[in-house]
């Protein structure tokens, strides 16, 4: 049987049809070659996605550079952007008074939840790892 090749990358990106997806999940179960290739692709993909989001150099947008913007429509955790956003986060703006808010971080939410997951058999990486970034060596 032929191996999956570029279908594997498309699979990781969700750019496959339902039939292709089924083909991948069934083939991958017992093909060591494709398992290894998927791991490699996933590594390269994660590496790229781990690159920090850089800020625009000051002044480039004539004073608008400090405005924090969402960079992608598709879900992706832009840690740097999120962290920078904390500073400009505005709660529910009202004309009476700013509504006071209680801040909790994703990390705290995740920790609270995950610490009880002994009642939940599906302990998965996504649950165990809050997407909180430790500094990445000198890229910025």
């Amino acid at each position: 049987m032929t191996h999956l090749g570029e279908l594997l990358s498309a699979y990781l990106d969700g750019e496959v049809t339902e039939d292709e997806r089924k083909l991948v999940t069934s083939h991958i179960t017992d093909c060591g070659t494709c398992q290894a290739e998927l791991a490699d692709l996933h590594l390269a993909r994660s590496a790229l996605r781990s690159l920090p989001v850089l800020d625009l150099p000051a002044g480039l947008l004539d004073g608008e550079a400090s405005v924090v913007i969402p960079l992608v429509r598709r879900p992706r955790v832009w840690i740097a952007a999120a962290a920078a956003t904390v500073a400009v986060f505005v709660g529910v703006a009202t004309f009476v008074a700013p509504e006071p808010t209680v801040p909790i971080t994703f990390n705290e939410i995740s920790l609270e939840h995950n610490n009880r997951s002994q009642l939940d058999p599906l302990l998965t990486p996504g649950k165990a790892v809050p997407p909180v970034s430790l500094p990445i060596g000198g890229a910025e």
Binding site: E6, A39, L51, V72, R74
Partner: protein, 167 residues
């Protein structure tokens, strides 16, 4: 998810300036070039906005960005290479790395940037659009003026080359 099409210059500049800068930075590895490019692209987008036909705004925007980038590179006489490395076949058999290797290679942002710069242009562009900017395959196809099948193939091969370079 429905796509909100920004209509004003301010919105476009704000929303896309940073993306364009990151795109250019990851392709060139040079902050000054990236800043120049972001400014140049924003200028072109501003001019082109009047003639924008509703459709895929992302695709349209990235087509402009890409063309501006290539013009910029040509002007600066740093033509991007697009030739394939000869030894592509060796990517066929890559063994599963050990967990420690994986972590070690993932942590180093500088290494990733260096590896990225070693990729032929078409592949570098495809993986940056996909994994750094977060464009869909359709949007990348529109931006690069190639069929979706080519996008799929470039992303796949780009990632394999990158994986090889990160070993």
């Amino acid at each position: 998810m429905p796509e909100d099409v920004p209509l004003s210059w301010e919105e476009v500049a704000r929303t896309h300036g940073r993306k364009i800068y990151n795109f250019a930075y990851r392709l060139t590895g040079n902050p000054d070039d990236a800043a120049d490019l972001a400014q140049e692209v924003l200028l072109r987008v501003r001019r082109g906005l009047a003639s924008y036909q509703p459709g895929s705004f992302e695709g349209w925007l990235w087509r402009i960005t890409r063309n501006a980038f290539l013009d910029d590179v040509r002007r600066k006489n740093r033509r991007p290479t697009s030739a394939l490395p000869d030894e592509l076949d060796r990517f066929a058999a890559i063994s599963t790395p050990s967990p420690d290797d994986v972590l070690a290679s993932l942590r180093l942002g500088e290494d990733i940037q260096k590896a990225l710069l070693g990729l032929p242009y078409d592949f570098r562009e495809a993986v940056v659009m996909c994994d750094v900017i977060g464009l869909s395959y359709d949007e990348i196809a529109l931006a690069s003026a190639v069929p979706v099948g080519t996008v799929r193939s470039r992303i796949h091969r780009g990632r394999k080359m990158l994986r090889e370079a990160l070993l």
